[in-house]
């Protein structure tokens, strides 16, 4: 069996769906952050796969993927520090208890 682009799209979709489900359903902010990482990496896989199969002559997708990795590393650092600051303030990191903005 030959592994083609379809398989990678399938993998990325599955991984994105798992991440989306986690981001929507987890109570802990840490877990939501981790789910966000899953979705970001699903996109990275898709970028690399597309680069490999659609435009093998250039390496655009690679660069995009590396760029995205750097951004999500910075993002996760910012996110974790936000969660830490939130915890210090309200002594919890569970999202369903943060409903001060309820109308």
């Amino acid at each position: 069996m030959k592994v083609g682009l379809d398989a990678f799209i399938l993998l990325a979709t599955a991984l994105f769906s798992v991440g989306l489900f986690g981001a929507l359903s987890k109570r802990s902010a840490i877990m939501v952050l981790m789910a966000l990482e899953l979705m970001a990496n699903a996109v990275n896989i898709l970028l690399v796969a597309a680069s490999r199969y659609v435009t093998p002559a250039t390496m655009d997708g690679w660069f995009f993927a590396v760029f995205s990795l750097v951004v999500s590393a910075a993002e996760i650092g910012l996110g974790l520090s936000l969660v830490l600051a939130l915890y210090r303030k309200v002594r919890t990191a569970e999202l369903d208890r943060l409903e001060t903005l309820k109308g």
Binding site: A23, V32, L98, L101, K102
Partner: protein, 643 residues
């Protein structure tokens, strides 16, 4: 002289202006201001009289002694000025003397009245107006002062306005004289249309040049005004009722001065009457009818003041008779003598009323013993009224009779003698009923302050008769002493009247009740005053009341109804508008607000505050968008293309 002349009417006017605004208590204490002003006017009037007396009797402009124009439009059509000539000089003396006598007398008569200050104020205003009437040099000013007199007359007749009688009498007097005044006003208008002036010295010389009809019109209109003021038939009905006022005021206004103003007016305007000719005859006729009517009605009155009132009407008629023969001297001379002796009689009647507390002569009698001074002066006045030599009334009445003979009015001469007979008869009746016999035992003599003015007036009445020749000369006419034959006739008439009266009332030779019974019809007619009050009541008052009632109905029913209906409609309209406001406009606004609130209430549930719920919404929206772009839109396009 001009300022002094102007001061004669202005002094009493100032007294009124001073007293008028005061409080009642202050005014009652300040009543002497009025007497002081009147005394000063009298002194000035004497000065003016002497000046007029010393003026040259003949020559150009001799009669007019003084002519002053007030600063208002000098010399123009409405120039107001003062005129001092023999006629006004004599009238000044009459008005100021009688005016002062009445004011002094009133100190006693009105002593206890709580509104005595106001009484004096009105007397002052009246004196000012009357003096302005006799000093006016034009008809317009005369008319204005004339109306002020009418006002004062109204105020004084209704002085005791809390009682119904005086109140009604004052309204009647005002309205009846007003009827005459309308004639006067129309006469003024006609006069102005003819000559563009009101001044005596412009109008009167021009009168001869008018068309006879125009002169007759003006003369008759002026005569109508004079008839109202001087209580001539058929406008005499107010004067007897006017006796409801204080007696001294009756003496001044309704005997001596104001009622004589009509005579003065006709005497002033006599050139117009002469130019007309017809108007003279009318004046003569009115005068003789009034003289007989007043004399006959005086016969059946029991109220002492009413007898004197009818006597005044009768004597004023006599004056009009004189004017009707174009003899202003005789008319004015009788005016002067009558002013003195009739005010004397009224003041005497006042003392009697004060003393006996009644006006009904049937309740009086025997007063000659209790009130000797009053009896004396009253007798002088009564004899003068009857026309007995040598009292003033004899001379003045004689001049009138002589003027009738000179004018060859023999029938009128007979009627005038009959009126004189009646006068002598009723005055005897009055005298006997009051002073003769027995009756009022508790009567007492009047106070000195009341007797003194009466004594002065009696003295004037005694001596003024001998001045008739001088008087006539002063007025510019040559008059001789009465002819013996005429004097004998009039004296005989007077004595016959007195004798008959004495025979009937003092000696009781005739049973008056039986005479009344036998002449019941005549007596009834006299008792009812020739039914003239009834006639006026039926002919004018009742229809007028009906018209007034109709107007009132129209006012209340139609005009008020329309106004009320409009108001009710408006209220209804505003109610509807209010409902529209509340239900539609407010309701709409409120419902919109409710809807907004409701929508907000529903929408706020979306904002749960939970981040993950928002995320789910975003996911849902993305799924829907993808579904639209990838499935629904291509399907729709395919369907549209296929169709």
């Amino acid at each position: 002289m001009g300022v002094l002349l102007a001061a004669i009417p202005l002094l009493p006017a100032a007294a009124f202006a001073l007293l008028g605004p005061m409080s009642r208590e202050l005014r009652n204490r300040a009543k002497w201001v009025s007497i002081v002003a009147m005394s000063a006017s009298l002194a000035l009037a004497v000065v003016a009289f002497v000046q007029a007396w010393l003026a040259p009797a003949h020559g150009e402009g001799a009669r007019v002694v003084f002519h002053a124009f007030a600063p208002i439009a000098p010399g123009g059509a409405f120039g107001f000025g003062l005129l001092l000539d023999p006629v006004s000089a004599v009238m000044l003396i009459v008005v100021t003397v009688v005016g002062l006598a009445v004011q002094v007398y009133s100190l006693g008569y009105m002593h206890s009245d709580e509104r005595v200050g106001w009484y004096y104020a009105v007397l002052s205003l009246f004196s000012a107006a009357m003096l302005a009437v006799v000093l006016a040099d034009n008809f317009l000013m005369l008319y204005m002062a004339w109306e002020v007199m009418g006002l004062c007359s109204y105020l004084l007749i209704g002085f005791w306005h809390t009682e119904e009688g005086p109140r009604k009498a004052s309204i009647k007097a005002f309205l009846v004289t007003r009827v005459g005044d309308i004639g006067f006003a129309l006469g003024l208008a006609a006069m102005f249309a003819l000559t563009r002036s009101f001044a005596f010295d412009k109008v009167l010389p021009a009168a001869t040049a008018w068309a006879p009809g125009a002169a007759t019109l003006v003369a008759l209109l002026l005569l109508f005004g004079a008839m109202g003021k001087s209580a001539q038939f058929p406008l005499h009905v107010w004067l007897p009722d006017a006796m409801a006022g204080p007696t001294p005021a009756s003496a001044l206004i309704h005997a001596a001065t104001m009622v004589a103003a009509g005579v003065y007016l006709v005497a002033r305007a006599l050139p117009i009457f002469v130019a007309s000719g017809v108007a003279l005859s009318v004046t003569l006729l009115i005068g003789i009818v009034t003289a007989l009517l007043g004399g006959s009605l005086a016969l059946v009155q029991y109220d002492i003041k009413k007898v004197l009132a009818y006597s005044t009407i009768s004597q004023l008629g006599y004056m009009f008779v004189a004017l009707g023969t174009a003899s202003e001297v005789a008319g004015l001379y009788h005016l002067v003598t009558h002013a003195f002796f009739k005010s004397l009689l009224f003041l005497g009647a006042g003392v009697i009323i004060h003393s006996t507390h009644t006006q009904d002569m049937r309740e009086m009698g025997g007063l000659r013993k209790k009130m000797p001074v009053t009896t004396g002066v009253f007798t002088i006045g009564a004899l003068a009224l009857a026309g007995v030599f040598p009292l003033s009334g004899f001379f003045s009445k004689d001049e009138i009779l002589a003027s009738l003979l000179r004018g060859h009015h023999y029938a009128f001469f007979g009627f005038a003698l009959l009126a004189a007979l009646l006068t002598a008869f009723y005055v005897t009746r009055l005298w006997v009923r009051v002073f003769w016999g027995t009756g009022s035992d508790h009567a007492h003599e009047g106070h000195r302050v009341m007797l003194a003015p009466m004594v002065v007036l009696a003295a004037i009445t005694l001596v003024i008769g001998f001045a008739s020749v001088a008087f006539a000369g002063f007025l510019g006419h040559e008059v001789e002493w009465p002819e013996v034959g005429l004097a004998a006739a009039s004296t005989f008439t007077a004595l016959a009247g007195i004798g008959a009266g004495w025979w009937v009332y003092a000696m009781g030779k005739v049973d008056t009740a039986e005479v009344r019974e036998r002449l019941r019809l005549l007596y009834l007619v006299l008792q009812q005053k020739y039914y003239m009050d009834r006639l006026y009541e039926a002919a004018f008052v009742k229809p007028f009341e009906k018209v007034a009632g109709a107007f009132a109905w129209f006012d209340l029913g139609v005009i008020d109804g329309a106004v009320n209906g409009a108001a009710a409609l408006w209220v209804r309209a505003t109610q509807l508008s209010w409902r529209f406001d509340v239900s539609v406009i407010d309701g709409g606004v409120n419902r919109l607000a409710d809807a907004v609130v409701d929508a907000g209430e529903r929408l706020r549930r979306l904002q749960s505050g939970s981040v993950q719920s928002y995320q789910r919404l975003v996911l849902g929206a993305v799924v829907l968008l993808l579904a639209w772009v990838m499935v629904l839109w291509p399907a729709l396009k395919a369907v549209l293309k296929g169709a």
